[in-house]
């Protein structure tokens, strides 16, 4: 199995699993209990809180609240702050947010809030002047993701934070789910007020996330109950998961092979783009503005779901932005916002790597992919368009009039 779908979820790190194991077996108290087993659980939760705070550069551990997932963190941050500030009803967000933010803002827009949707250009980048102009006196919250889940494009969080501070009284929420563990993050030296993260994107188990709430920012409790998490989110803590998240954060903090992941991603991306004529990159070609692990590539005029199924047959796991594979039967809103033509959006494949991928796996993928694409090109009804693309590339590749190396 070659797993190249790490932006969807990741393998639980063996280190995280080992750290969790006692809390699934012999250490089973309720962290709210006063006896020694309970206290041991509580110590474990607080240790995990330190590990999370350290990874994202929080000024204090009290700024970290554990939740069940990234979506919960996003919903609580935005919904909670609106509830806290009923007088202001203007929200600013982007067209390319994860569903947890996008669909929530759509719903808020239908229920009395005014939402300004910031557009992106064809590279998936924001225009910060648009943001400046969008901010108003009644803007209550600005929610912008740090890294796009589909394309890996990074938004300039610190710059955006400054603009929000200087031009409004709004609170600044960042959906950091896709970025945590992949790039360095230092929240105490930023203007970020709220920051969502999710465990299973960085080799912790599914079912645990966290919300960073900057000291001084007030949110109503997300769940009312027994006063856990300092009264901010009731419900018995999911101790094994929280311990797993802490261990994964410690592991990410000490991880120094991001360059290796990036090199593998670059190899995969470069080789696909240079050898497959109907391949085109989605997202900025400037790699310093993208996550080091993500390559989103469209294979024009063929269907991404077919590519996915065939790669799956050879044991390679990827994602597609194609409409055929989504529950809504709509192609990716992110790619549409970037003005990617639908014949390209339909054939988009997201390759996302992790620390566990090897060069052999990338070589194997590069070996099987061209044949899969060639088969689908042969099957595509867009004969004319494809012929032109393949002819162009052949001509460009052989300026001296040599033999074309591309399949037609």
């Amino acid at each position: 199995m070659i797993y190249l779908d790490n932006n969807a979820t990741t393998r639980v790190a063996p280190e995280a699993f080992t750290a969790m194991q006692p809390y699934l077996t012999e250490v089973y108290g309720n962290p709210s209990s006063a006896h020694s087993l309970g206290r041991r659980m509580n110590v474990a939760v607080e240790r995990a809180r330190e590990q999370v705070a350290e990874l994202i550069g929080a000024a204090d551990t009290s700024e970290i609240v554990f939740t069940s997932c990234g979506s919960e963190s996003d919903n609580w941050a935005i919904g909670g702050f609106l509830e806290q500030n009923p007088a202001r009803r203007h929200i600013v967000t982007t067209r390319v947010e994860h569903e947890a933010v996008r669909n929530l803002c759509v719903q808020l827009g239908e229920n009395g809030c005014e939402v300004t949707w910031l557009e992106v250009n064809e590279n998936g980048e924001l225009n910060l002047d648009d943001l400046r102009q969008a901010l108003r006196r009644d803007t209550v919250i600005v929610s912008v993701m740090l890294a796009n889940n589909e394309t890996g494009v990074l938004f300039p969080m610190n710059e955006i934070g400054k603009i929000v501070r200087e031009n409004s009284d709004a609170v600044f929420h960042v959906d950091g789910v896709q970025a945590v563990g992949k790039i360095p993050i230092d929240l105490k030296h930023s203007e970020v007020d709220l920051f969502a993260l999710s465990g299973h994107k960085l080799h912790a188990p599914q079912g645990v996330g966290a919300l960073y709430i900057r000291e001084g920012v007030k949110l109503p409790p997300f769940i009312i109950g027994g006063g856990q998490e300092s009264g901010r989110r009731a419900g018995t803590s999911a101790v094994p998961n929280i311990v797993g998240l802490g261990a994964a954060c410690a592991l990410a903090k000490n991880f120094d092979e991001h360059k290796k992941i990036e090199a593998l991603r670059n190899k995969l991306e470069d080789e696909i783009l240079s050898t497959i004529p109907n391949a085109r990159l989605n997202g900025t070609p400037d790699r310093s503005k993208r996550l080091p692990n993500t390559a989103n590539i469209s294979f024009e005029y063929v269907e991404g779901e077919n590519i996915l199924v065939q790669l799956d047959q050879t044991g390679i796991c990827v994602s597609t932005g194609s409409a055929c594979h989504s529950t809504t039967r709509e192609s990716s809103p992110t790619l549409r916002a970037m003005n990617v033509p639908y014949t390209a959006a339909q054939g988009s494949i997201r390759f996302s790597l992790s620390r566990y991928n090897t060069e052999d796996e990338i070589d194997q993928t590069l070996k099987v992919l061209p044949d899969i694409i060639a088969k689908l090109v042969e099957m595509s009804p867009y004969d004319k368009e494809l012929k032109a693309l393949y002819a162009d590339r052949s001509a460009a590749a052989t300026p001296s009039g040599g033999k074309p190396t591309f399949r037609t």
Binding site: M1, E303, N306, Q310, Q313, S331
Partner: protein, 207 residues
């Protein structure tokens, strides 16, 4: 680094492969009829505004309205691809009337494709529509080129204009469904529906 549970992982991998096996049997390794039927051929197209899928079926038709070859090209999901592969294979050596009946029997196609085709009516319908369009392209051309004494209306069942007129007069028919029941005209690809409509109006008088 090993998981304490590493020895169980292959079992999970096997289970995962089985989930996809049903559709995979009709899928890429065994895909049939990709391409273009030899000229002169008759082409039908279908497309979905909802998902962007595009399908094209080309037929080569021989003596007695028999389909000699059926091929397809497609940019669409696996269900659509598999449906086209199955349908084009089934209609070979069938008459256009038989082929039209196969194309309209969506339930049978879905059963053949198995679990993955459940709730995927739209995808199967696109395959069926492309095939029907190709048959209609043939029927329209055959009607235009017909040089018999009587004008040919239903090419699938070879029913002439005179037959339809006399059926309408004798049996006092007033709808296309009644005409089809009486003489089979319109029971195939239905490309002659507008023509039957015209004859009904003409015989029964306009109102």
């Amino acid at each position: 680094m090993r998981y304490p549970t590493d020895n169980h992982r292959d079992t999970f991998a096997d289970a995962f492969m089985i989930v996809n096996a049903g559709l995979a049997a009709e899928q890429f390794p065994n895909l049939k009829n990709v391409g273009e039927a030899a000229l002169p051929n008759f082409v039908g197209r279908s497309a979905s505004f909802a998902c962007g899928a595009v399908a094209r079926v080309s037929l080569r038709v021989g003596e007695g309205q028999h389909i000699v070859d059926a091929k397809f090209k497609v940019a669409g999901c696996s269900v659509l691809v598999a449906a086209l592969s199955v349908l084009t294979e089934q209609v070979k050596n069938k008459s256009t009337a038989e082929a039209a009946a196969l194309a309209e029997d969506l339930e049978t196609i879905k059963r053949r494709l198995g679990r993955e085709a459940v709730n995927r009516d739209d995808c199967v319908l696109l395959a069926s529509e492309a095939l029907l369009q190709a048959i209609r392209a043939y029927s329209d051309a055959a009607r235009d080129h017909w040089d018999g004494d009587d004008a040919l209306i239903c090419t699938c069942f070879g029913v002439s204009e005179r037959t339809i007129e006399s059926e309408i007069q004798i049996k006092k028919l007033s709808t296309i469904a009644e005409v089809t029941r009486a003489c089979n005209a319109g029971a195939g690809c239905r490309s002659c529906y507008p023509l039957i409509e015209d004859i009904l109006e003409e015989v029964n008088g306009k109102w």
